[in-house]
């Protein structure tokens, strides 16, 4: 059927739906729903990791293969460094930029190396905002509680307390750097309510929060003349005879040569895993989100946490085909947008946590109440025109300019027509286990941002990631810098690889892949 004909039911039922309130699930119903429909509970997608620090723990098969994968680096490689620095930051997203700026400010010699250009990352795409308890009726303690609930009580309390308490000072730092957060008429920060939050707490820059933060952070990295190495992908870490981290090896993606960097400490800020397309899901993530940091840390002996749980954002675009997987910001639901099935019914409280909303969308689709596309996809409607009906014409355009433009390019006016959505692979809830200084169990190896784990428990609350990046980027940067003054460079070896390879051999060398992946293999093989 013509898409407009299918959308009629959304227009027809709008007024009736506006009078409805949909209660949130009880904890028992919620758990039942998630266990039945959330992709994290699809047992066939999982297998135990065969060896290494998380041996016998389960994760998705796509990641398990990479964790067990072999390195590009041979034992005989010449490890004479081309560069020597105090602090080596790997990754040019929000966490990497924050780490580099703080380490530099604290007086360390810093190098920032990244796979694509500085700033090409997930961070630049964050639309929904950053959770910081600034409203008078809110507090860091309430922020803590909301996050804990969202994470199903599995969050690391120490990490979480640090994050919520440092939030407000992070906002101040960003404002001093020139980030233009939305304001109320009285000059205070404007806050929105996000899914799973009991208080309005999202600070935003229109629907360009990540872009605005990254424009500023990138510019500041350049202003501070921090040494940059772009289009260089980390392919192995370096260790000394005690197993401490002493640098990294990169592959220069322009000339395919290896680059060795000696450092007193390394901060991995390599982000997420969306481009592994776990369980065949499309993703909202950037081109380089291939979980490289997990593989590198794992081979060094760093322990991972919660790597069996991933966030499938409820609203990934399903139509048009060109936008499949791309994020339709949660902001639409925060402002009252309904989710509507093919029968014109709402089926979940749209502001419940992401795992609940995603599970219920999957339920609707599996039970035949979804809308299908001819390319074999399925989804439900997100009633975007409702926002104009509710808050006055022009609301969608004014509050969601980025999203308006995205769909307009394909001839769709989201202020007039609802959008078809289905969960998209969005975020890795877990990652490399860190302490409150962002350090791993491998000395002088720090991990910050999405690549790290423990803070978010089993489901990240929306808007908490941007804050995570800033807080733990800062902590890793400051700790690494403070150590630099009183230590010298360690030996550069790949002894950890010998250990890792011996382990792999014992388990039959079955992975058959080289990791990290670096970039997804999208290029069609033309024979």
């Amino acid at each position: 059927m013509d898409i407009h004909a299918l959308q009629q039911i959304v227009h027809q039922t709008r007024d009736a739906r506006r009078k409805q309130t949909i209660p949130k699930f009880s904890p028992a119903d919620r758990d039942q729903l998630i266990h039945k429909y959330h992709p994290d509970y699809r047992a066939s997608a999982y297998r135990p990791i065969r060896f290494g620090p998380n041996a016998d723990e389960k994760t998705v098969v796509e990641l398990a293969a990479l964790l067990e994968g072999d390195s590009l680096i041979t034992d005989e490689m010449d490890l004479t460094p081309q560069y020597t620095t105090d602090v080596l930051v790997i990754g040019g997203g929000g966490a990497g930029c924050a780490a580099a700026l703080h380490a530099h400010h604290a007086g360390a010699k810093v190098m920032l190396a990244t796979k694509l250009r500085l700033g090409d990352s997930n961070s630049v795409m964050a639309q929904g905002g950053m959770q910081i308890s600034v409203a008078p009726e809110d507090s860091p303690v309430t922020h803590f509680i909301d996050t804990l609930k969202g994470g199903h009580m599995h969050n690391d309390h120490d990490l979480l307390k640090v994050m919520v308490e440092e939030g407000p000072s992070i906002a101040k730092w960003l404002i001093e750097l020139g980030v233009l957060f939305d304001r109320q008429a009285d000059g205070n920060l404007h806050v929105k309510k996000g899914g799973g939050s009991s208080k309005p707490r999202l600070v935003t820059c229109s629907d360009y929060t990540g872009l605005e933060m990254m424009r500023v952070l990138k510019d500041e990295v350049l202003n501070q003349k921090i040494q940059l190495l772009e289009f260089c992908a980390a392919v192995e870490l370096l260790s000394d005879e005690h197993g401490q981290c002493t640098g990294a090896i990169f592959k220069d993606l322009d000339n395919h040569r290896f680059v060795v960097v000696a450092a007193k400490s390394v901060i991995l800020a390599t982000g997420g895993i969306g481009r592994l397309h776990i369980q065949g899901f499309p993703t909202s993530n950037h081109y380089g989100a291939t979980g490289d940091g997990l593989c590198l840390s794992y081979r060094m002996g760093a322990k991972l946490a919660h790597i069996d749980t991933f966030q499938y954002h409820p609203s990934g675009a399903v139509y048009p085909e060109q936008l499949v997987g791309q994020l339709v910001t949660e902001g639409i639901r925060s402002e009252g947008g309904h989710l509507v099935n093919a029968k014109g019914e709402r089926f979940v409280n749209e502001l419940d946590t992401r795992d609940v909303v995603s599970s219920s969308i999957i339920r609707e689709c599996e039970e035949g109440r979804g809308i299908r596309t001819m390319s074999g996809r399925v989804g439900v409607w997100l009633d975007t025109p409702l926002l104009d009906a509710e808050h006055g014409p022009g609301t969608v355009e004014k509050h969601f300019p980025a999203m308006m433009m995205q769909f307009e390019r394909f001839g769709i006016d989201i202020s007039k027509d609802p959008v078809l959505i289905y969960p998209t692979l969005h975020y890795q809830n877990g990652g490399v286990k860190i302490d409150t200084n962002s350090e791993t169990n491998v000395k002088n190896l720090f991990v910050a941002g999405e690549a790290s784990g423990g803070l978010h428990g089993r489901n990240r609350l929306m808007g908490n990631s941007l804050l995570d990046l800033m807080v733990f980027g800062k902590r890793s940067g400051l700790t690494a810098a403070s150590r630099a003054a009183s230590m010298s460079h360690g030996k550069l070896t790949v002894q950890h690889l010998q250990r890792f390879r011996a382990d792999a051999k014992k388990h039959g060398n079955v992975s058959g892949v080289t990791s990290p992946m670096i970039l997804p293999a999208y290029t069609r093989k033309v024979s």
């Binding site: 013509d2 898409i3 507090s139 020139g178 000059g187 820059c205 424009r215 596309t373 433009m405």
Partner: protein, 236 residues
């Protein structure tokens, strides 16, 4: 299960993809109609490293020049956000060596005046409007440059909120202005120097420093798992 077609969106282009002829950097290829420009590169067997970043229309890495069939006008787009059509020809834009000024926002004496030291070319705009025409984000770039020069930093910061820093406005400028870099400086100055300080934020920072929440923390962190869960359930 029998597939009924009541809830299926018509997508004839998906059912029978029509192949179209396009030109990539001067070479002819046939690709399925409607795929994005970036996917056309992958489809034709090319490895993409420079030229792809976020894949979501936010980073500007995929800035591309294109022309449609028989139209002399060369346009710009973000390759990850543009569908190919028959007769289209395109080339990804190489990095352009625009000059970025170096500054410390906090120590600038008079940011509106300092603009002319940092970017002395900014007031030399010759009003050709090429930058506006080149912008894939539909920003009125020319107007922005003028507003910057006249000190209306607030308007500039609002106009350039959509700027993905693709840099397509720079190579076209006959006055060697990099409008996006000028606007970024102006926006940052607006944020850091000309925007009201949020008093509520400072108050909250002070509260935390002074230990206003210490008792609550103590209570919370000493709870058993069960007590904590019950307590959390009361917060709605």
């Amino acid at each position: 299960m029998a597939q009924d077609n009541t809830n299926v969106i018509d997508q004839p282009e998906v059912m029978q993809p029509r192949m179209v002829s396009i030109e990539i950097s001067g070479k002819k290829y046939d690709v399925p109609e409607g795929i994005t420009v970036i996917k056309a590169l992958w489809y034709t067997g090319q490895e993409v490293v420079r030229g792809a970043g976020c894949l979501g229309g936010f980073c500007g890495a995929c800035a591309t020049y294109y022309r449609t069939k028989d139209d002399p006008k060369v346009r710009t787009c973000l390759a990850c956000q543009m569908a190919v059509e028959d007769g289209m020809s395109f080339t990804i834009m190489p990095p352009f060596p625009a000059r970025k000024a170096i500054y410390d926002l906090q120590t600038l004496k008079d940011p509106k005046q300092d603009l002319f030291n940092l970017y002395p070319e900014a007031p030399l705009c010759r009003n050709c409007n090429a930058c506006t025409e080149a912008c894939p984000q539909k920003i009125d770039v020319r107007e922005g440059v003028w507003k910057a020069v006249f000190g209306d930093f607030k308007s500039v910061s609002e106009m350039f909120m959509d700027c993905v820093m693709c840099g397509m406005c720079t190579p076209v400028c006959i006055a060697d202005i990099a409008p996006n870099l000028v606007a970024l400086y102006v926006s940052r100055a607006q944020g850091a120097r000309f925007t009201e300080k949020p008093v509520g934020l400072d108050a909250r920072i002070k509260e935390i420093q002074e230990g206003r929440y210490n008792d609550e923390w103590k209570k919370l962190l000493n709870m058993s798992e069960k007590e904590l869960a019950d307590h959390c359930a009361t917060v709605k």
